[in-house]
């Protein structure tokens, strides 16, 4: 806890940002982000957009897996659902502020269909069920041509706000981060509410949770649906951002990517989602830079980006689980505590 920060009401103690210093830092950070499209280069803005999309998806997985302990391997498939949904909604003329939530809800609905039967039994069966769901959905993405365009995919018309078309990274940046901000605050609010506590209870000891009155099936399905909603919205944003998408994007590797993001970042915490999304987006970028830097004397490296990525994801997951299971958020918290207590040690 920070030195010198005291509260006289419970309300004060339970706020999201609990001290003047935290609020000040946050304001500075918000200002920097707001102005990013001005001071950032094209590359930085594009990367920031991708981080934002990953952030929305990671927030969702962190509710399902990090919060309620349900291992979902179908997160990428739900993003696909959201993306294809948005392509249809946008073509029917729906504005983005209707298309995105609806896409999320469609993904959540499919989540409910998958979750209701498979959440009645033990956790690993659920993981396998999400694996199966991922491949069945992937099959539909590839084969159901009238709806998904088959292997050639679909195009998504740009989002528009009061007639202003949101084309280009700099405009999409604001849409993406508006969504990320709203959904991030929602996730944080969930964490300090009784529903969020129930998720963690179900994760840690579901028998005790039941005794306390937690309806296990309903709670687990709710957690899964929420994660799917976030993935659907992320998929929709992806669609608006790229303008066109094919089924090849939503691979099993992508689901593993998000799993790595929550493990590396820190499970169950919004800060963990932020750190995880940023870190994991940097990984393929670093690999790409590495392969172009060494392209002179190791030209074949460029072809191996995908498998190299897989190796790195795997190493990150295993490494963090062994060395720092609470992720970067824990490391960050430790550094913060040292600063707050300085010059004292404990």
């Amino acid at each position: 806890m920070r030195i010198g920060v005291f509260f006289e009401t419970y309300r004060g103690e339970e706020q999201l940002w609990d001290s003047p210093a935290a609020k000040a830092w946050l304001a500075l950070f918000a200002l920097a982000m707001l102005l990013l499209p001005w001071w950032g280069s094209d590359y930085i803005v594009a990367m920031a957009c991708i981080v934002g999309i990953h952030l929305v998806a990671t927030l969702g997985l962190n509710i399902t897996t990090g919060g309620a302990g349900l291992i979902s391997l179908s997160h990428a498939a739900f993003m696909g659902v959201g993306c294809y949904a948005v392509s249809w909604f946008a073509r029917w003329g729906l504005p983005f502020y209707l298309a995105l939530p609806l896409a999320g809800m469609l993904a959540a609905l499919i989540g409910m269909l998958v979750g209701l039967p498979s959440l009645r039994v033990k956790g690993m069966y659920f993981a396998i069920a999400t694996l199966a769901a991922h491949f069945v959905l992937g099959f539909l993405f590839r084969e159901w041509t009238p709806v998904t365009g088959g292997p050639r995919g679909v195009t998504i018309p740009p989002a528009s706000l009061f007639g202003l078309e949101l084309t280009g990274d700099r405009r999409m940046f604001y849409l993406i981060y508006a969504c990320a901000l709203a959904l991030g605050i929602a996730a944080a609010n969930l964490g300090r509410s009784y529903v969020g506590r129930a998720f963690i209870a179900v994760r840690d000891r579901d028998i005790s949770a039941e005794i306390l009155g937690v309806d296990l099936l309903r709670t687990k399905v709710l957690a899964f649906m929420t994660g799917a909603f976030y993935a659907g919205v992320a998929g929709g944003l992806l669609g608006y951002f790229y303008g066109a998408i094919t089924s090849e994007y939503f691979t099993f590797s992508l689901s593993v990517f998000y799993l790595a993001a929550i493990i590396v970042g820190g499970m169950g915490r919004v800060l963990g989602s932020v750190l995880g999304a940023v870190f994991m987006t940097l990984v393929p970028e670093c690999l790409r830079l590495l392969s172009s830097a060494t392209s002179a004397w190791m030209p074949s490296l460029a072809n191996l980006l995908l498998p190299m990525g897989q190796v790195v994801f795997g190493l990150l997951i295993i490494g963090f689980l062994i060395l720092e299971p609470h992720g970067l958020a824990q490391i960050w918290a430790r550094i913060r505590r040292t600063f707050h207590l300085w010059p004292f040690r404990t």
């Binding site: 099959f139 190299m308 990525g309 897989q310």
Partner: protein, 293 residues
């Protein structure tokens, strides 16, 4: 009558191919029964075994049996490393952590294999002779029968090992109650290590058989993912269930592919999984767990 012969051909093919599927499923069940770990990397270990066999048989030109032994040795080493480095280190953590670690492991192995051997399919010499056999109007590739017999022999050997040998019984003891087994003098560590090695070798034999049927490629791992259908249908901890389930799934898959089309091969096992989870989650012969509070 040709309709009947077509049906018979599909049926036989399906049943025979189930042998290999049973081996992969068995590698999964062994680890689960032995260490309570759900090994999402089972397919990747099998793939690694297949590629090692390829290297020995096709690149170094060793005779098939020797190549298989080399692959078994290599995978045994890798399995030992996995058990020591990853699972030992995660011993106290909750089950979801270990599950996620095996997912990470799968990703790691898949990427490593692709880096080492490339993405393209590689022709592999057969482990067993490939001559088609004709039973009247029904044609069966000889490899199918050979694979099935080898798989059946290996499974029978494993069952006998667990039932009749000292080591096998010790491993079963470790699986059901490690603490008590330890107090009775069983070496828990080596039991668990042996479980992983056995699992790896079963997967390797399956991999070599599949490879020998044509070629190896990274797609092999996805074929192995379909083993989940077998495992779920049979029951995660039942060897008999897995054998029965692989016969059923193999038969159904062959019929589906034969009558409906090749594309369904990819998605069929997953549909099976979803259906079973709705209807009877603990599979045909798995135990419904009663929890002691």
């Amino acid at each position: 009558m040709t309709d009947f012969y077509i049906f018979l051909e599909f049926t036989l093919l399906g049943l025979l191919s189930s042998g290999v599927a049973a081996l992969i499923a068995l590698s999964f069940v062994l680890v689960y029964k032995g260490t309570r770990v759900v090994n999402f990397a089972a397919g990747e270990v099998m793939m690694l075994g297949a590629y090692c066999y390829y290297t020995a048989a096709a690149l170094w030109h060793w005779p098939p049996v020797l190549a298989l032994l080399a692959a078994l040795a290599a995978v045994a080493v890798v399995s030992t490393c996995i058990e020591a480095l990853v699972l030992r280190a995660l011993a106290g953590q909750p089950t979801i952590s270990i599950l996620m670690a095996t997912i990470g492991l799968a990703s790691l192995l898949h990427g490593a294999v692709e880096i080492a051997w490339g993405q393209d399919p590689l022709e592999t010499p057969a482990l067993l002779p490939r001559m088609p056999l004709n039973f009247g109007e029904v044609m069966i590739p000889g490899a199918a029968i050979g694979n099935f017999l080898l798989a059946a022999a290996l499974i029978a050997a494993l069952v006998a090992f667990f039932r009749y040998t000292q080591t096998g019984i010790a491993m079963r003891a470790t699986a059901s109650d490690p603490v008590t087994a330890a107090t009775l003098g069983v070496d828990i560590r080596s039991s668990q290590r042996l479980t992983w090695i056995l699992s790896g070798t079963t997967g390797t034999v399956a991999g070599a058989l599949i490879a020998g049927a044509g070629s190896v490629s990274p797609a092999l791992a996805s074929t192995a993912l379909s083993v989940f259908a077998v495992v779920i249908l049979g029951g995660l901890d039942s060897v008999a269930g897995v054998i029965l389930a692989s016969l059923i799934v193999g038969w159904l898959e062959s019929l589906t592919v034969g009558y409906v089309g090749g594309k369904m091969r990819d998605v069929f096992p997953y549909l099976v999984v979803l259906v079973i989870l709705v209807v009877r989650p603990h599979g045909l012969l798995g135990t419904r767990e009663i929890e002691r509070l």
